[in-house]
Symmetry: C2
Subunit: 243 residues, 2 copies
């Protein structure tokens, strides 16, 4: 399985992903699900992928190839708006799924690939989109500033409560790690290494990209602290008189 | 959708359920999913149901009818062990699903009903079982003292971290409410009223049964407090130096 998320705040974007891929629990591997594209000085994109691994890789190859040899749908450089980039990525994704879908479905596999696309084009605000397997897309907003793909439920309660458009970019990055940790704690199919990319608004280049390995001391400290803080928070709650 | 859970601790059992039932978001109703059975002085059972509402109701009717007119599979009174009660409930559940499954599946509906059965028979320890739609069952243990059915993922992180076999029965009851609240906060298909039943070990009768309506002042206080505590817990975490 996979868990990826993006958070869109006033100061910029955070994109985060786990790296566990499995064909069943007995064939777990590590693959990056985060792909950065810097095709020109005036734009930066980050793509997160969930779903069929082979088709995800094929999609990334097509997007890079199209930068050299633009097809009729254009490429990440020809998009004039971020939503056009999302439309383009959705169209390429759908085409690849349509090509391989029948054979995959015939052998009981899903060709679905779902994406998060974040980035900025000069002169426009940064943006964050979920691009569905069907090719359509939806944007994060100030009211709901986060998007998730893959195994999304375990890590959603914290985002629902803490994610805010006006939170600091570093706090959003920390929140993405907490959400990843919450998911991995409850579901074996999601796990480190975790990747976290920080895009500061109007930077037009990726600010920082971090890789947290499974034995990263900070990750361990965060996980232990979060566990302790949650147990303490539970103890602080008003008590119901059950008697 | 539905979310029900049971927690098995040293001092007894907690069983909790939401009451929202829907055929799509535009036909949401309130139905109790908690059914207590006290068929004899030496035993007490509580059944929680998730899945096809009609078949759940039919199952409960069959279990009550069998107490008056035992069939070849016996009834809740003839079970000598709690696991035999779980086998019996699983067999009746499967029979009803087999009867109505073909017609339901033909119209695109699932006949699946999944159950949590908790209780005690005199002279044996209390027990908690998940009874799958296929009729088989599994028990909660001291290592993993909780069981969930329905929309289980949002409320699992807290259980993973806080639920312990040696926690107080009242704390387990409070934890069940927090887990229900976490689920309802992140998923519209789960909602109050919530029911919480407390079974003290060796009581052989239901200790207490509570109904928390959507406008219950304690529920509101708990939800607001939990939201605040989680945000504060997040602020207490060690900070990563992202710069």
């Amino acid at each position: 399985m996979t868990y990826c998320l993006g958070i869109c705040v006033e100061q910029g974007l955070v994109l985060a992903s786990d790296s566990r891929t499995s064909a069943g629990v007995d064939y777990a591997s590590v693959y990056s699900k985060m792909h950065a594209f810097k095709p020109a000085a005036d734009r930066q994109f980050v793509l997160l992928t969930a779903g069929n691994l082979a088709l995800s890789q094929q999609l990334v190859s097509h997007l890079r190839r199209d930068l050299d040899y633009p097809g009729p749908a254009g490429n990440l450089n020809s998009a004039r708006y971020l939503f056009e980039a999302a439309e383009y990525v959705g169209a390429v994704n759908l085409e690849i799924q349509n090509t391989h879908g029948p054979a995959l479905r015939a052998s009981g596999q899903s060709p679905d690939v779902t994406l998060i696309l974040g980035g900025q084009i000069a002169g426009q605000p940064p943006g964050l989109f979920i691009v569905y397997a069907q090719g359509n897309h939806a944007a994060a907003t100030a009211e709901t500033p986060f998007l998730q793909i893959g195994e999304i439920k375990y890590g959603k309660p914290m985002l629902d409560r803490v994610a805010r458009f006006d939170m600091a970019l570093e706090d959003a990055a920390q929140l993405s790690l907490v959400s990843l940790d919450a998911t991995a704690r409850s579901n074996l199919s999601v796990g480190p290494p975790y990747e976290v990319a920080i895009y500061p608004r109007d930077n037009l280049a990726l600010g920082k990209r971090f890789l947290f390995a499974g034995d990263d001391p900070f990750l361990d400290e965060l996980s232990v602290s979060w566990n302790r803080e949650l147990c303490e928070a539970f103890q602080q709650l008003p008590k119901f008189r059950w008697d």
